[in-house]
């Protein structure tokens, strides 16, 4: 088959990925820098029998996609900081009701209206802890337009597989930059569908406790009649205040994510093969600069590596620690006042690896030169690189 290659913007790639993954419902509300996703969905969905609706706000948007998913249709919304904040209560609802949904958050500078047209990674923590209550999130962080397409598919797949909301965390630059994208053939991509029940309706439990933590999911209208509630509920979906049932449910929600951290979060490394003592850790658009910085540093005979996770929630902490075994100094580069760095401090033994911040929050991206300067600084302070 002939390969299709297109020059796409990140937001356009996201639309392509979503449609390939089988998304057939989109509810959204316009907000820079995510709007092109809604526009693309509004144009494309009705041409393939899907449906788009512009809701009255982002609270309604997320509510509508949860409703559509309960009706059995793969559903997505897209927004940016202010809208992402409005969605938080219902993200918790999608989580507790185990309803597959995908939420794209194209990060811009905050807080509040902040910097609508400027790049940022300041929703890093919100993506993992935005909603109230105990919550275990999945947030994928692509770092090229090609990856935006693939990670959108992956986000839909993970939401179906784990019956949970999945966040695709982009940023303004990723959303608007144009890159060459290889459009995969449909037979090259894996599409995951939620498990459907095979038992008769009388035996069906919408929230069954299973060995994997994930149970089959019937849709409204399929002949399985059940209750869904955001109250803590039993396996049948009815409110419960029974301590053992409360714990069983909250544990199941947590474990199905935490146990799979190693498969959800992968790492891409550059220049880590010869065990450098200095490395850069970053995600998304910053990881592109880090990759370039490694090349520059190596041209200057500085042995430096770069590592980036493909998901920041959950983090595959075992793998991360293994990969940082020989690293003495880790530069954590990010577009905010220090969020990812706190996560790293939580998971990395600082007696072994010094954690060095590199933060930018003036609306501009971190450049390879800026990272390289940081490396030189480390060298200057007498570290052996």
């Amino acid at each position: 088959m002939k390969r299709v290659v297109k020059l796409l913007q990140g937001n356009e790639a996201c639309v392509e990925g979503a449609l390939m993954a089988g998304v057939r419902f989109f509810g959204g509300y316009p907000i820079t820098p995510s709007t092109e996703i809604a526009e693309g969905m509004a144009r494309r969905l009705p041409t393939i029998g899907g449906r788009f609706i512009q809701m009255e706000d982002e609270i309604g948007s997320i509510a509508s996609i949860i409703g559509a998913s309960c009706a059995g249709v793969k559903s997505m919304t897209a927004t940016s900081g202010p809208g992402f904040s409005l969605m938080q209560e219902n993200i918790g609802y999608a989580y507790i009701t185990e309803t597959p949904t995908v939420i794209v958050n194209v990060q811009r500078g905050g807080p509040s209206t902040g910097l609508p047209t400027k790049v940022s990674q300041s929703d890093t923590m919100q993506a993992g802890h935005g909603t109230h209550g105990d919550y275990y999130a999945i947030a994928l962080v692509p770092s090229s337009v090609q990856e935006v397409l693939h990670f959108t598919i992956k986000a839909v797949n993970l939401s179906e597989r784990f019956r949970t909301p999945v966040i695709l965390l982009l940023d303004e630059v990723m959303a608007h930059m144009r890159e060459k994208v290889d459009i995969p053939n449909p037979d090259e991509i894996e599409i995951v569908e939620r498990k459907r029940p095979t038992v008769p309706p009388d035996w069906y439990k919408h929230f069954a406790l299973t060995a994997t933590g994930v149970s089959a999911m019937a849709s409204f209208g399929d002949g399985y009649r059940y209750n869904i509630t955001g109250l803590i509920h039993d396996e049948l979906g009815f409110p419960t205040a029974e301590p053992s049932e409360i714990v069983a449910m909250l544990d199941k929600l947590k474990q199905k994510i935490v146990k799979h951290a190693e498969s959800i979060c992968e790492f891409e490394t550059n220049g880590m093969e010869d065990d450098p003592k200095v490395a850069i850790l970053s995600y998304g658009i910053v990881a592109r600069a880090a990759k370039q910085a490694v090349i520059i540093a190596r041209e200057h005979r500085l042995k430096v590596g770069a590592i980036r996770p493909t998901a920041i929630w959950p983090l595959a902490t075992d793998s991360l620690r293994k990969r940082l075994k020989n690293v003495r100094q880790l530069i954590v580069a990010e577009l905010n006042q220090g969020q990812l760095i706190n996560l790293m401090k939580q998971h990395i033994d600082q007696r072994h690896t010094e954690i060095i911040p590199l933060q930018r929050y003036d609306g501009e991206i971190i450049s390879p030169g800026q990272i390289f300067n940081k490396i030189k600084e480390i060298k200057h302070h007498g570290s052996e690189i």
Binding site: G60, A63, N227
Partner: protein, 286 residues
Amino acid sequence: MAQKSDMAQKSDVVHHYLRPKKKFPHVWCSGCGLGVILGSLIRSIDSLQMSKNDIVVCSGIGCSSRLPVYIDFNTLHTTHGRAIAFATGIKVAKPKLKVIVVTGDGDCLAIGGNHFIHACRRNIDITVILANNWIYGMTGGQFSPTTPTGSRGTTAPYGNLEQPFDPTSLAIAAGAAYVARSTVYHVNQLDKMIKGGLEKKGFSLVEIISNCHTYYGRLNREGDPVKMLQWQKKHAMPIEAARKLPPEKLEDKFITGVLHDVDKEEYCHRYDRLIRELANASRERS
């Protein structure tokens, strides 16, 4: 065998739709108007002769929003104020489903007011059953957007300073296709109003004046459920009769019946048409 009374037959129908086991006792105070609404909703649904499998009942948070939990349909108890937005997603994704929202005056008109008016505007085929008890019952008696000026709530200890609004006028102005009002006293009329709403292709609102004696009644010295129902009986004025009366005679009355009923294209219908038109256009091109 003696014929079952009309009352007994009505209650048999209700039992056929209640969820078996485990779900009772319900959370409501005895004598609450919500039980009447539950019965009336079930009878109205029963009269449609639809499969239970094709009916979705969605609600927000509040005493009234607990209703779906007890009935044997596809039920979705959502977040405070958002039921209509959830219902919108369900309806658009699967238009063959009959989608009903059960909500309270706080849920629908305060926190959920925006979703409410925009669903009216879209004229999406959802029936909203609004239990209006003029108070926040679940949280213990705070004033709501329908609490009359001067009435007491726990957050209006000196009387409500605000003016209430009328959800039916709001719905009509915002574009709803069918708007009716009844009370938990006028059960036969209520059955008809809900049935009318369910049969309407488009957005329908049935506002039901309901008693919360536990909070509204107590805080405003309006007494027990019986007294509150008597008040409803005395102050309800059917629209047909109201049309013939001068405004002075209507001052202490509220109007019941079908207040608005128009035919216009429904949102999902329009979307389906768009999908067909796009498919035809693409067929012609290729």
